[in-house]
């Protein structure tokens, strides 16, 4: 859950009265753009990407215009532009027009929780406007501070003095940066980055910090995010239909964390426990359709719904249904397995049989009842299967599932389909 860019950034900063560059969205009409240029002498035209997309400037995705004609040409170029960053490809959905801010100094500021200090930490440098990773260490400072009292002016003053920052920027930053803490802490943010903040002369001999780019991340487990009334679809791009359907079941009792790894995968692996999730995801790699953690002792109804959704989206393409977890501490194996087995049975009654090899590995409370409940359903559905207890190494069980997948790909699936009386 991230926001980048000034379209929403400026709105959020306004909530705490932090000065921002003047911004117009993609709906801006010609005369508005013209007036913006007239007021600021120049506009920056930036594509709007949903979610966290970095390094736009470096990729040439930043337009500048001093006249309407150029601004419109840049708009046309950037409106639906595609941006590749690492493996991720993002497509722009419009552009913003941002008034240029004259300044001599550019400042980088971020607030994030640091695991080094186990505290919220201010990172600041007056060598802003560039990639922070490229700066020598002595030009940046990281200052942890007490969340119970918040980010105070003295923290900023001390930090800037440590950096030997130009004295004219110290006071305006000490006055304005504490506002960011209110935005960060009270609205469920986990990171907030302004880069650059341009120190604009006021005309009265002083400077004012103006945010010219914005990036923040939200904590999906923090209900404070809702205070901002951000449109729901702002983060929707992060989630597939399947993930959104599962997310609706996301409550604190019983995990329902899921992420699609490979929509063309062939092993459907509902996984229990964060550890098992790491391990199974690691070993299955691209064979896995989803990465999931359904542990945390979900109740029957929730588990059945989660499984129903998983099966609805993925079972048809799956060669292997692989239910895997370690030796559960608290998750009731009988409840969760009965729920999953019932969901599988219901799937088959509604949609008819499907050729799938079932591999199960699990331990925990009510194990015997749970495994037997699943076994009964697999027997009644005439599916091939192996069920392992916790005395088999989990990684070997993962490899077994992969071997089953290979066999299914190499003709096993066809054989099984024929046996079940279905044509594929």
């Amino acid at each position: 859950m991230q926001i980048t860019g000034m379209l929403f950034g400026a709105k959020l900063l306004k909530l705490v009265d932090f000065p921002t560059a003047e911004v117009r969205g993609p709906e801006a009409c010609d005369h508005e753009i013209k007036e913006l240029i007239a007021r600021h002498g120049e506009v920056f035209v930036k594509p709007i990407f949903r979610g966290g997309v970095g390094k736009k400037g470096k990729s040439g995705l930043l337009g500048r215009a001093k006249d309407l004609n150029t601004a419109l040409k840049e708009k046309e170029r950037l409106y639906f532009v595609e941006h590749k960053h690492g493996n991720a490809v993002a497509k722009s959905q419009g552009v913003t027009f941002e008034g240029a801010v004259p300044a001599e100094h550019e400042v980088y500021v971020s607030i994030a929780d640091s695991t080094k200090y186990r505290a919220p930490t201010l990172t600041i440098t007056h060598h802003g406007g560039m990639d922070i990773e490229e700066l020598p260490k002595e030009q940046i400072v990281e200052i942890p501070f007490d969340p119970l009292t918040g980010l105070k002016s003295f923290v900023i003053t001390n930090a800037l003095c440590d950096l030997n920052a130009p004295k004219e920027i110290v006071s305006p930053l000490a006055q304005n940066l504490p506002k960011l803490w209110d935005l960060f802490h009270h609205n469920g943010m986990t990171t907030l980055e302004l880069n650059p903040i341009r120190m604009m002369p006021t005309g009265k001999g002083s400077l004012i910090p103006v945010a010219c780019d914005f990036k923040c991340g939200f904590d999906r487990d923090d209900p404070r995010v809702k205070r901002l009334n951000l449109p729901n679809d702002l983060f929707a791009v992060d989630y597939s239909d399947f993930e959104q359907e599962i997310n609706q079941l996301r409550t604190y009792q019983g995990q329902s964390d899921v992420s699609v790894i490979n929509a063309n995968g062939t092993i459907l692996a509902p996984t229990f426990g964060g550890g098992a999730n790491s391990l199974v995801t690691e070993f299955l790699g691209d064979d896995a359709i989803i990465s999931s953690d359904f542990g945390g002792n979900p109740p029957y109804e929730k588990m059945r719904d989660v499984m129903r959704i998983c099966l609805k989206h993925w079972l048809k393409q799956s060669n292997v249904l692989f239910i895997i977890g370690g030796k559960a501490n608290n998750t009731d194996i009988f409840v969760t397995f009965r729920a999953m087995a019932d969901a599988l049975r219901e799937y088959v009654s509604e949609r008819g049989p499907t050729p799938v090899y079932v591999v199960i590995g699990r331990g925990g409370p009510q194990l015997s009842r749970g495994l037997l409940a699943f076994k009964d359903v697999l027997d009644s559905l005439s599916l091939p299967y192996r069920i392992f207890g916790f005395d088999s190494a989990m990684t070997d069980v993962v490899r077994y599932a992969q071997a089953a997948d290979r066999w299914m790909k190499a003709g096993g699936r066809k054989m099984l389909a024929r046996q079940l009386g279905i044509e594929e």
Partner: protein
Amino acid sequence: MDTLINKQGSGKFKYFVGINSLAEMATCKDRVCVLNILGNESRGVTPVSHAYSGGNVVFGTSPGRRGEVLETPAGDIPVYNNVREGLEDGHTFNTGVVYLPPAAVRDGVFELMRVNSDIKKIIILTEKVSVHDAREIRALAQQRGVDVFGANCLGVADAWNHIRIGGALGGDKPEESLRKGSVAIYSNSGNFTTTMASYLAAGGWGTTTSVSSGKDLYIHFAPAEFANAFDHDARTKAAVMYIEPGGYYEANLEFNKPVVACVVGRWKAKLTRAVGHAGAIAGSGDGAEAKEKWFQRILRVDGIYSPENPIVSQAGAVVTNIAHIPAALTAVMKLNGIEPDFAPEGDLTLKPWFGDNQGLPLPPELDIPLVEPIQPYKDQIAELSKQVGATFPRESMKDRSGSSIMDPKTQVTKVSGVSILDTAKYPLASNYMLALIHETSDENDLALFNTAIATKVNLFGDPAIAAADGARAAGNAPNTVLAAACTMDGPRRVDGARKATDVLIELFGHSGLHAGDQEGFDFSAIKPAPQQLAVLIGKKADPQAELMMSGLKARGAKSVFVDYLRTLGNPTGDAVLAAISTTICWSALIRKKISRTTARNLPWYLHLFATIIGASVDGAKHTADSFCGVPVKELASKWTTTEMAYLALLGEKPTPDKLFPFQVLLGLIISNGVGTISAQGAKGAVSADGPESPERVQINKAMIGFLTHTGFAHGGNGFEGIQFLIEQFGGTDLKDAGDPNHGLDLKAMGTKFAEAFGAEKKARKGVGEGVRNIPGVNHPVFKGQVVNKDPREVYLSALFKERGETNVFHDFYSALVQALFDTGVTANVFCVNIDAVIAALLLKLLWPRYRSGAFSEEALETAAFTAFLFGRMVGCAGEIDDHINRGRNMDTRTPASQCTHVS
């Protein structure tokens, strides 16, 4: 920040760390207070922890529930509203355990720290605690000098002291996994803490202290603090750590004893967000690869350990597969001259406990032979395999149901997962089977079911009809009349059929029979004992049995059990009834979809169902060989249950076009969710008998509970709608409400009423009186739109339209809501609600009789109420059976603390 907040620091740390040795982590002296002790998770986990630790929980909190206790094998734990009350009562504790929901965790932790100055440790089990709250918890805990574990962890356990604090490390049998030994565990995963302990035991290693750290962004008791405590614990000779990506907690660790570190999560670098562990997402330089390198440097190895390439040093090893931990540890310890704690227990090779190739030519790598499960699972599985039918976990079922669920948005209830909009399309018999067996029925099931009802519906000579007639004569409403009849269907009357069901299950339970209507089943392996035979057959032919069997034959019904009885001689009537019900439920029973209790009670439900239909008719219509003038033999061989219900209510055989709306009517009202008074009455009756001894629950009494929890306001109120329609149509010459050419101007009728109603409304408002409701119009959920619709009504309208059926009453309602809006009486178009549909359906059926004078208004009211009872008994039977299978004794009572006095 740590240095800024905590001036003292602790030992080598610049910040506060209270626990200096793993031996201090979970001790016999620790006394524990559990917040939200009565929450779902705690209720299961805390009793095990308390008993395992010799009773270390002094009290728990749960706001509003002071005075209650949490029962545990080591004695009851008292519950208070808050921490202060517990302390005021003289309890002391140094450790807090937090089971609160995420939004309440921070405040709970603050309560522990501010109210109790003795607090030293806090363990937070809750998942999904926000980063915001975690950062404040860290800061305050540092100020106050408290060690925090979690959130999203499973706490700590000590195998030497037999102490477990917090969550469920070691599961429900901690001693099984937490074997005493010399290795400490530190794990980002709660589940892997136990899994690794099991793996270590397979390699001959036991444990000292196990720490589940959690893997949120903030880890309060981090690896550095663990390393320090590990160093100072003389019992611990080595440590095993399970570490995931994200965070710099492991970057600069120092160890003086051997460590095996398992770093998992290279692949996670491809993910853009965390799954499961919120903190397990790397930023820059803290991914799994970086962490492998950190540990390689710390443990002085130049690669990852694997069985093929066993890279170890005296300082330890790094693995990326948890299954390699025991072997790596043994190799490291060998270099240190230390042998395992005990002989290896088993191994971790692939050992499938169950499997089936389904006759496919599997390659050897897949075709692994099955292995007997380890103990105690082998014995458990052997025992469970003998069991026929499902066993459901017992829990409090107050206001909860596994039978029905209502969607608050659509107000549509589902019974056994099927919407009442669909049950409206099923015959009554199907719905009854659906409620009890949780599966849809086929033609054979229907033939069996209908035969059983048909042979029991005639109550000639039965005390039930005498009781009903007596109650009727005394002026009781139909629910009370039918309740009186049900008292006669007590346990003794169904004892024979229940015993016969038991015998059939004993004989066929392990015979390989998968379906009750399986053809060509070979009886030669069924060997009944003499006492079993005595339950099934009598000395001479039983007329009831004969009647049922002839009915089954006439309908071509198939039943392995009836066929089997035929081979034995003269089966009793009870045995045939048992054979019928067992055939119906066999497949679900064998697949463990229903319990054995449900199967053995099914004859009782059939009895009650027939009695309720039969007793709704005056005793004079029950004769030696006929019911409502229809020969019993004919009923047994042809009639459906819905037809019999229609016959009982309206005194004639329905034509198909009359039967359908009647069936829809009954199907619609089978349930309105577990919160309805009728369902509550049924559940209360079960709860009071004690479902934990299911054989003692009186199902007829539970059915009476349902009946007595209906009345003129719940069930009988359907008549209000009928009365309203009679008022509107009484003055017309309508003959057939199904005639599309009825000749009435419904719009004008609606407008006339709306104008009169509007005037009345105005007048009432003028004198400050409330406005009366129009029965069947408006709904508290479906309102506020420009045009409002009750989705159930919309669905049914479409259904009838599709069948080309007209209902003038229903159409009038549609005209009326429009007229109310058009005349300005309502601000928007109100919906026609489901009650209106029911009234319209029923009155359409009754209208000819009412018009001819055969039915008085009183008879109409009785018929409307009885129809409701016919439908609702289906849903309530489902609730009764569900509560018997899942509920606890007296679980529907309301705690005194939640009851209020009104003066």
